[in-house]
């Protein structure tokens, strides 16, 4: 990736900056900085604004309705979005299933689903994990049996984030029992309003509603909703892995938002004559996280340079995910520390509000524990790096 911006790039940066300059309401900021999702309807409206501007799918090729941006442009776009406290775009349609559809899907699937993803007509959820299949995803047991021109799906998905607002779910299901567990797995697209599909909330430690169990009882899914070939679903995950490096990169670029929140909170907290930000001990700790976040930005740039050159980035995506998740945990913990006793005031029981930044800062700190678990836990990422990069 060329870090020296051309006059065109500079003009593009101005354009992006102008787009964000007046578009991000003040009341989004604390949520975004806490690494939490804005309400779905807000994210949908945001996605539509981007789509209207032609920027709905920044990482997609032009032929599928994307921007076709170079990694340099993507980097500019994400940097500006991050600087403006804009939220990350909701990724499950855009980064997870969209690219699989445009790589392996039928023409009918591409024509129907892709524009709907870009324009936020559909909210997608990811039905991969199950009670017995988390890190060991190949252990999934949800079955899809053929019956005429339908699959009949039975089983249970777990941790299906935003299933409660989703219109559709992409799910890994077992279409046959093979000796090798990775075989016989297929990827299907399920409408959430199909009869026999039931969503039950899972409440998490941060008291924000993110995720669910999804029960499937004789759910009939048209065979036409199979993506690619039957039994090849596991292999499509490879595309995902490739895309995930971009998701990791994008997410990592939003880390400075959280650090700004820490800084602001520390500046607000009175300490002796000055503020917490004047205290050298706190300052040093914040600097340490800021420095590590800069190192992560450098790793992201290198990853994107790989992408620009069409090179295999090996385990770098895993490395970025690993470092990002550790840093968001440290940054949100520092935020809580900056709030001091106010962090004990999670919610007001009487009229009046919780202290500034609460409860979002604490919710962010608690929810950040999830980042080293989902999308391949840190232990699994390390296994991947050990195997793929180090040959151990």
């Amino acid at each position: 990736m060329n870090l020296d911006l051309t006059p065109d790039d500079l003009a593009f940066r101005e354009e992006v900056r102008a787009f964000f300059a007046d578009g991000i309401p003040e009341d989004w900021k604390t949520t975004v900085r806490a690494g939490l999702r804005l309400p779905p309807e807000t994210l949908v409206a945001y996605q539509r604004r981007l789509a209207a501007r032609g920027w709905g799918a920044p990482t997609w090729p032009v032929e599928h309705g994307g921007t076709g941006w170079s990694p340099t442009r993507l980097h500019i776009f994400w940097s500006e979005a991050s600087a403006a406290d804009a939220p990350a775009q909701y990724h499950q349609g855009l980064e997870l299933i969209g690219p699989i559809i445009f790589t392996y899907g039928s023409k009918a699937q591409k024509d129907f689903y892709l524009p709907r993803i870009i324009h936020a007509d559909d909210w997608w959820c990811q039905g991969y994990s199950e009670p017995g299949a988390g890190s060991d995803l190949a252990a999934i047991r949800t079955r899809a049996d053929r019956d005429g021109d339908h699959y009949v799906v039975n089983g249970q998905k777990m941790w299906t984030s935003y299933a409660h607002v989703a219109d559709r779910m992409f799910a890994l299901v077992r279409t046959s029992a093979e000796a090798r567990r990775q075989q016989g797995i297929s990827l299907i697209l399920v409408d959430m309003d199909t009869l026999g599909l039931r969503v039950r909330p899972i409440h998490t430690l941060d008291e924000k509603y993110h995720t669910n169990e999804v029960f499937l009882d004789d759910v009939r899914v048209p065979l036409a909703n199979l993506v690619g070939e039957e039994g090849q679903g596991w292999g499509y995950g490879k595309v995902l892995l490739d895309r995930e490096r971009m998701v990791a990169a994008a997410t990592a670029m939003f880390l400075p938002q959280t650090l700004r929140a820490v800084r602001d909170a520390a500046r607000r907290r009175r300490m002796g004559g000055g503020t917490l930000l004047d205290q050298s001990g706190f300052r040093a700790k914040l600097a340490q996280v800021e420095i590590e976040a800069m190192a992560l930005q450098a790793m992201v740039m290198r990853l994107m340079a790989d992408a620009a050159a069409g090179a295999d980035s090996g385990p770098r995506g895993s490395m970025v995910k690993l470092r990002w998740s550790e840093l968001i945990q440290q940054a949100t913990a520092l935020w809580v520390e900056a709030l001091g006793p106010a962090a004990q005031h999670f919610g007001a029981l009487d009229d009046g509000d919780a202290p500034p930044d609460m409860p979002l800062a604490l919710q962010g700190a608690l929810y950040s524990r999830v980042t080293t678990i989902y999308g391949g836990s840190s232990e699994i990422q390390r296994n991947i790096i050990a195997r793929r990069a180090l040959g151990l």
């Binding site: 017995g132 252990a139 777990m158 706190f282 004990q344 029981l349 999830v370 836990s377």
Partner: protein
């Protein structure tokens, strides 16, 4: 140094554990929390009947005169079962502040011990932890003393009937001299109580005082030492709670990795997982040893305040690290509301903040240990 509990202390510890198993079973936790203050009041009454509430209160004040090690035997179980009743803030902190503090204090102490009133302490201001940062003004008038100002955090204060409040009777903000203590009933004229809940089920408050009539407690202008001593006792009691919680979270995790299967084997067979559990158990050992030394230290003359600050700083680190790892090793279910592990994490994070977080304690350690 004696690291073992006496027979009596062992019985006490076991009785708290039985109570915890009955009344705060992990599987019923959400139901317990949903009961709110009502359930808490019932359990508080039961604790009074068992004699726990009067345990740390001096005999002269209707208590049993129990020492820090007795309190440790109680608080371990509070930690193991994550009981949210305000034991430390009433029976240790408020009791410490009020000990020998005059007629009203003595009367209230007896009633705390009987479970009839709850008293919380408003000591800190301005989003800080330092007890000498006091600007609430105590103004003498014909009708007695009146207090004006704000206390930003009162631990377990939401459901208290009375407040012990520090106020300035002389000197300037941040001076140790000139701080006095007062008693204020919840329904006092001019007092506004803003209540908050924390993520661990505890309920705190902020006090806004606007010429609130107050009864003096203890020696005028010289309350700083009394406050320090009482807060140190509260900190030490919290250490035991932290240790109980850490050990419980570690035990739950150990069970889980033995049963949870992925890739066809229990995840506890992965060496990475084993090493993490080893680190957790080392942290538990470190924290327990340090908690015992700090607790026993309190019974010695010239109790080491630097040691208490050090123990709080280190045990907070250990506690948070252990609880985080417990969540991590449970995977997704570790983050669920339903399972008790993440409740340990929430409590450990809040215990860190109570009476001064790790950084504050480290700074205090530097001051107190300076040659």
């Amino acid at each position: 140094m004696d690291f073992a509990y006496s027979e009596e202390q062992l019985m006490l510890r076991d009785s708290v554990d039985r109570f915890g198993e009955d009344r705060w079973a992990g599987a019923d936790r959400l139901a317990r929390l949903a009961e709110g203050p009502e359930g808490s009041r019932r359990r508080w009454a039961a604790m009074a009947e068992l004699g726990w509430l009067m345990l740390p209160i001096a005999e002269a004040e209707g208590g049993l005169g129990g020492g820090p090690v007795d309190v440790m035997a109680v608080m371990e179980g509070f930690g193991r079962h994550l009981m949210t009743e305000p034991y430390v803030s009433n029976c240790v902190l408020a009791a410490g502040l009020m000990h020998g503090g005059g007629e009203l204090a003595s009367d209230l102490l007896a009633r705390i011990g009987a479970g009839e009133v709850r008293v919380a302490a408003g000591l800190t201001e301005n989003d800080g932890y330092a007890i000498e940062q006091v600007s609430v003004a105590a103004i003498d008038g014909p009708g007695g003393v009146h207090l004006s100002g704000m206390k930003t955090h009162v631990e377990d204060g939401a459901d208290a009937d009375w407040y012990v409040v520090s106020a300035r009777t002389a000197g300037a903000m941040a001076e140790r001299d000139g701080i006095s203590l007062f008693l204020v009933p919840r329904d006092a004229a001019g007092l506004t109580v803003r209540r908050f809940r924390a993520v661990d089920g505890h309920r705190h408050c902020t006090l806004m005082l606007d010429r609130v009539p107050a009864t003096p407690l203890g020696e005028r202008d010289r309350a700083a030492d009394r406050i320090d001593a009482a807060v140190d006792r509260a900190i030490v009691a919290h250490l035991a709670e932290a240790v109980g919680s850490m050990e419980s979270a570690t035990a739950a995790t150990l069970d889980y990795v033995r049963t949870r299967q992925q890739f066809g084997v229990p995840i506890g067979t992965f060496q990475v997982i084993q090493h993490k559990l080893v680190d957790m158990s080392v942290a538990c050992e470190e924290a327990r040893a340090l908690a015992i030394v700090a607790t026993r230290g309190m019974t010695q003359p010239g109790a080491g305040r630097a040691l208490i600050a050090a123990a709080k700083a280190r045990i907070s680190q250990c506690g948070i690290a252990v609880a985080q790892q417990a969540v991590q090793l449970h995977g997704g279910v570790g983050t669920s509301e339903e399972l008790v592990v993440s409740h340990h994490l929430r409590r450990q994070m809040m215990l860190d903040l109570a009476h001064g977080d790790r950084d504050f304690q480290r700074a205090r350690f530097i001051l107190l240990s300076a040659g």
